[in-house]
């Protein structure tokens, strides 16, 4: 059998990698929820868009059905490589976030949460169906690169204790942690972040101080969207793409993450994501059939014992 220390090391590494994606997703959702008290069920759709934009930028893809195919388009994509996708995807996500805030979120800020849930869930379905109809419902291969920054990431690397580990997944951990750190710094250490945090506590007072909080709202929403799109790109680099991934792989983990970490808390999203990642990884590797049960039990227990989450200031949805 595999020695215990190898198990623990690979559990931590796999957990960190999975947790980094959860944290990215939770981060985007939590800053929108915390700042604007807006529940965005279209967060998964932004992940989906990020994955597909990544696919378009990354390589040329052959179509076999869908609207474009019926118009005679058999291949789509720019074959620009992964670095280009790393740049383009967050920008596109940011742009979509700005538009979404202006035309979808803003009219619903003062409406009940149920209205917000319905409109964003509807939007998520619309995005999913549009992608399915235009590009086709096919499942596409993951878009992991062969090389990045001159490093060959298609081969596994031999790590001490763990043994062979996919080198691309190590990169994912690094890239995700960098993005998470930058976001954390932006929220905690910049004037923009201060305004956002103040807006979270008391938006009316911020307005009275003469600060245009609405502009910050747009930026926060766009930042959250960019993070979700980025998570989509990272996710699609290790897993297949299909129109269903937004809900299956992004929305649920994002909500679980902020339930554990605490709504509106940046630190909470990071800690919550990592914790969930390690729990899933540990259970999968030891008692795989219990992985999902333990995951949801853990989240349920969190809701009972500590409803405000690890770092939250109030109850979820409050």
């Amino acid at each position: 059998m595999i020695p215990l220390q190898v198990d623990i090391a690979s559990i931590l590494l796999n957990g960190l990698q999975q947790g980094a994606i959860y944290a990215l997703l939770g981060l985007g959702l939590t800053i929108i929820l915390g700042t604007m008290e807006f529940l965005n069920l279209a967060h998964g759709a932004l992940y989906l868009v990020g994955a597909y934009v990544g696919l378009l930028v990354f390589r040329e893809t052959t179509l076999t059905n869908g609207l474009l195919y019926s118009f005679g388009v058999t291949t789509i994509g720019f074959d620009g490589g992964f670095l280009a996708a790393l740049v383009v995807v967050p920008i596109v996500g940011f742009g979509i976030g700005l538009l979404m805030e202006r035309f979808v979120a803003e009219p619903f800020y003062d409406r009940p949460e149920t209205d917000q849930l319905l409109v964003t869930f509807g939007l998520a379905l619309i995005v999913e169906e549009i992608i399915k109809n235009v590009i086709g419902g096919n499942t596409f291969q993951s878009i992991g690169p062969q090389t990045i920054f001159g490093f060959n990431v298609s081969q596994p690397v031999a790590l001490p204790v763990v043994g062979l580990f996919p080198s691309w997944r190590l990169f994912i951990i690094v890239i995700a942690l960098v993005i998470i750190a930058v976001t954390w710094l932006a929220i905690e250490r910049t004037d923009f972040g201060l305004v956002v945090q103040a807006g979270t506590r008391d938006s009316e007072m911020v307005r009275l101080l003469g600060i245009k909080i609405n502009r910050s709202y747009s930026l926060v929403f766009a930042l959250g969207a960019a993070l979700a799109a980025f998570a989509g790109l990272i996710g699609a680099s290790i897993q297949t793409l299909s129109p269903q991934i937004g809900t299956d792989r992004a929305l649920l983990p994002a909500f679980l993450t902020i339930v554990v970490g605490g709504a509106g808390s940046v630190r909470g999203a990071i800690a919550g994501g990592m914790l969930l990642g390690v729990i899933v990884s540990a259970m999968t590797q030891t008692y795989s059939q219990w992985a999902q049960i333990v995951l949801y039990l853990f989240v349920a227990l969190m809701l009972i014992v500590r409803p405000e989450g690890l770092f939250g200031s109030g109850e979820v949805g409050e």
């Binding site: 059998m1 595999i2 198990d7 690979s10 559990i11 796999n14 990698q17 999975q18 052959t62 076999t64 059905n65 086709g136 419902g137 096919n138 499942t139 596409f140 291969q141 993951s142 992991g144 298609s154 081969q155 596994p156 763990v162 043994g163 062979l164 580990f165 996919p166 691309w168 997944r169 290790i238 897993q239 297949t240 299909s242 269903q244 991934i245 299956d248 792989r249 899933v280 990884s281 999968t284 590797q285 795989s288 059939q289 992985a291 999902q292």
Partner: protein
């Protein structure tokens, strides 16, 4: 059971009165016509009223398997077209005229299973109750096929299995009203084990991951049985993974690469499209051989860069050069401008085989149609000689062993090469052995029971 008994009894009453009416009219006119003949008592949706006979095509139209469902629908609709207007296999089947079935035009209703047994059962129930389908066909998941065939048995409506590979479908869960032409996990083991033993050697150690539902469970059990028996291989462990998992890294981390010679990924379709590339990323292919026992097009496309040299089995391939495979492929290509997947052939074949059985029985009366299919021997479905066995309704047929092509040899329509068409003489099991030993088909219904 959530069945609406009120609705059923109303339907039965209507059926019975319809038959009584038809019998009365027959008495007056002295003529009934083949399909609506009243020589048999009403059962299920028999007798068929009007000029049309309805087939229900129950496939995944939403969710991850919608592409496979779409190809199945293409097969079904092509069969319907050929049954009504001639063409394809219909032209060479002596019982079929290309003028409908038993003088009735074939109509169809479509349902969405969403690859979910409950959704599939509800959809089939609607086809039976509302649309009066005389036959339902579908699949793309063994859990779905098993759920629907159970319903069909209780409703006395014929079910023609499309894509279902679990041993249970014609084993412990078999029913009288269902037939399966597709091979099963047991036969996959029988076909693959000798090829792999020859390719990789004997006395090896293997490790399995399997999708944790009906198909995956029987698949891993069959692999264990035949790898152990044929190649004298030893299993290290067999680990369940939830159906629909997209990240297998933790499972793969647990594979002891030092001692494992062969990794068997008992994942179907999109599960395999994730597990196979991730296993290769993890470097496992450097230390061991990887096998994916059941291929489908969805998986081959979505893991195209990873399938090189990977062995598996397939139901059929458009690359086969026999007369029936060529006829079907040509007709399909003319109609849809692409080559058919094996799911499409299964769909097409189920529809045509059922129609031919009705013609042979000269009635839609289900027990008689079932008897026509039982022990039916045929060689006109693209797989050489086949027998639809009476004891478990499992076709005894050849199985293709295939291997993934290198990326530079792949084309849009050709991703796999056929390694071997394993003869049915080397496959299968007796009626009192293997999965068939657990099969009890249940009653025919009607006047026979």
């Amino acid at each position: 059971m959530a069945r609406d008994t009120t609705e059923l009894s109303r339907r039965d009453v209507l059926k019975a009165s319809g038959t009584a009416g038809a019998a009365g009219l027959a008495g007056l006119a002295g003529c009934t016509g083949g399909g609506g003949g009243s020589e048999y008592p009403p059962i299920g949706n028999y007798p068929v009223e009007g000029d049309e006979v309805v087939f229900g095509f129950n496939v995944p139209q939403s969710g991850s398997y919608s592409q496979e469902g779409a190809d199945e629908l293409r097969g079904y609709n092509l069969a319907k077209k050929h049954l009504n207007n001639g063409g394809g296999w219909v032209d060479s089947y002596e019982n079929l005229s290309g003028n409908g079935v038993l003088g009735k035009t074939v109509a169809s209703v479509e349902g969405d299973t969403a690859t979910n047994p409950d959704t599939a059962r509800q959809s089939a129930q609607r086809m039976i109750n509302r649309d009066n389908a005389i036959m339902v066909s579908g699949g793309s998941s063994s859990a779905v096929a098993i759920a629907v065939q159970k319903l069909c048995q209780s409703e006395k409506v014929q079910f023609q299995c499309c894509l279902t590979h679990s041993n249970d479908t014609t084993g412990s869960e078999c029913v009288r009203y269902s037939f399966r032409e597709m091979f099963n996990a047991y036969m996959t083991g029988q076909a693959l084990a000798p090829v792999l033993a020859e390719e990789y050697g004997e006395n090896l150690k293997f490790y399995q991951l399997y999708a944790d539902y009906s198909w995956g469970q029987t698949q891993q059990a069959s692999m264990k049985k035949f790898f152990t028996e044929v190649g004298n291989w030893t299993q290290i462990d067999s680990v369940p993974t939830p159906l629909g998992t997209s990240d297998y890294s933790s499972y793969l981390s647990d594979v002891p690469s030092e001692e494992t010679d062969v990794l068997v990924l008992n994942h179907y379709g999109l599960d395999a499209a994730n597990s196979l590339p991730q296993a290769i990323e993890q470097g496992l292919k450097q230390d061991m051989e990887i096998v994916v026992p059941l291929y489908n097009r969805l998986m081959a496309e979505a893991a195209a860069d990873s399938i090189e040299g990977i062995f598996g089995t397939a139901d059929w391939s458009w690359q086969l050069s026999d007369q029936y495979s060529k006829t079907f492929t040509e007709a399909f290509r003319n109609e849809y401008n692409k080559v058919p997947s094996y799911a499409a052939r299964l769909a097409y074949s189920q529809t045509v085989q059922y129609a031919a059985a009705c013609q042979r029985a000269d009635t839609f009366y289900p027990p008689e149609v079932i008897k026509q299919l039982e022990n039916h021997q045929y060689s006109n479905a693209g797989l050489g000689a086949e027998t639809m066995r009476k004891c478990d309704h499992q076709a005894q047929r050849d199985v293709l062993v295939v291997q993934g092509l290198p990326s530079d040899q792949q084309t849009e329509s050709k991703l796999l090469r056929i390694v071997n068409q394993t003869s049915r003489d080397k496959l299968g099991y007796a009626c009192d052995a293997g999965p068939a030993a657990e099969c009890s088909l249940g009653p025919y219904g009607g006047e026979n029971n």
